[in-house]
Amino acid sequence: MNPFKSRITENWVMPVSAMGFVLGILLHVTWITQNTRSGRLNTLDPDMAKRIGSGSLDLLSEVQRVSQEVAKLREENTKLQNAMSNTTGQTKLLNETLQEAKEFAGLTALEGPGLRVTLRDAAGAESGNQIIHDVDVLKVVNELWAAGAEAISVNGHRIVGKSSFRCVGPVIHVDNIPIAPPVVVRAIGDPGTLRGALTLPLGVLAEIRSTGDPSMVAIDTVEQQVLPAYTGGTARKYGKTVEVETK
């Protein structure tokens, strides 16, 4: 005998089940999934959004996906330009100038010898001096440029003329893309010169080292390394090229 079988009639079961079926559909339609999350998050309360979205809203992989696509498209662009220039000497000359400009702007991947500088937070860092700040990265990059580096990348992000280093809460943003320590700065140039510039007495690294933990900085000479192309946007809104009058 079913112990729950009661004397009361069970006429409620079927209608409730039928409506339950509808409710099930409704619940599924409302469920917040990966696809609807980004659209729904900004309509939720902040704390609710944090509960649902923490960790799962994968902006970083989205950024990576988009930058990969940008890199691919730019590479194709270069290929097309090369293909076009094969026809005549004039276009060839034009293309060479163009490619040179692109190399200078950091729009192409570049390979060559250089340095790899690794900046780490001190183990068990207690004071603000013992962690790597945006300013430290900026100083290192600046020093490398000054010492004649031809190309620099920070954690796989190519540094170009409009690159920025910012501190946003606990993370450093390079061109508005968050990076996680350790910060690996790669530079192409003469390894000896670059190393000398970085290790100047009272130089940029001396300041970091003076906090007591030499393991915060590591400099390695690299025989051959490939720096990726810049994958950020290049569109302009306000600037206009000044026309040069040709006589």
């Binding site: 112990p3 729950f4 009661s6 009361i8 009639t9 069970e10 006429n11 409620w12 079961v13 209608p15 409730v16 089940s17 039928a18 409506m19 339950g20 079926f21 509808v22 409710l23 099930g24 559909i25 409704l26 619940l27 599924h28 339609v29 409302t30 469920w31 917040i32 999934t33 696809n35 609807t36 659209g39 729904r40 309509t43 939720l44």
Partner: protein
């Protein structure tokens, strides 16, 4: 008995997933969420009244549909007139869901308890008759 509606909910969920009806994007999802709460509340209310023996088919079904529609449209209207009626609806329906669940739980536990008592009495009775038979 209480399992049948639960299975029905899961079946609806599965069907929607198979047919790829949802999920909806954007703010409509918020209002649908409130509608879900209304539906959930009506369902628990239906189970509760069923256990109390006061279940009425037409009241329940009209209640379900109208509650869901009203919850959706009132929440939508609230946003359009700048009042967070979504929260209000969530609060009211949430409270009713919990109170309904409490009543259902009490019903089930009481029934179970009564059944235990009844069985024990039956067993005692049987033992007594056996004893008396053995004595005689």
């Amino acid at each position: 008995m209480i399992l049948v509606p639960i299975i029905a909910v899961l079946a609806g969920f599965a069907l929607s997933a198979i047919l790829k009806l949802g999920p909806v994007t954007g703010t409509a999802g918020i209002y649908l969420g409130v509608a879900c709460l209304a539906g959930l509340d009506t369902m628990f209310g239906g189970i509760r009244s069923g256990m109390e023996g006061k279940f009425q088919n037409d009241v329940f079904i009209s209640g379900f549909i109208v509650n869901v529609l009203i919850a959706f449209s009132v929440a939508w209207m609230g946003d359009n007139i700048g009042q967070n009626l979504v929260l209000v609806a969530a609060l009211v329906f949430g409270m009713r869901i919990f109170s309904n669940l409490g009543v259902i739980r009490r019903f089930v536990v009481t029934k179970w308890h009564d059944e235990l008592v009844r069985r024990r009495e039956q067993a005692e009775k049987a033992a007594q008759t056996q004893n008396s038979q053995a004595n005689s």
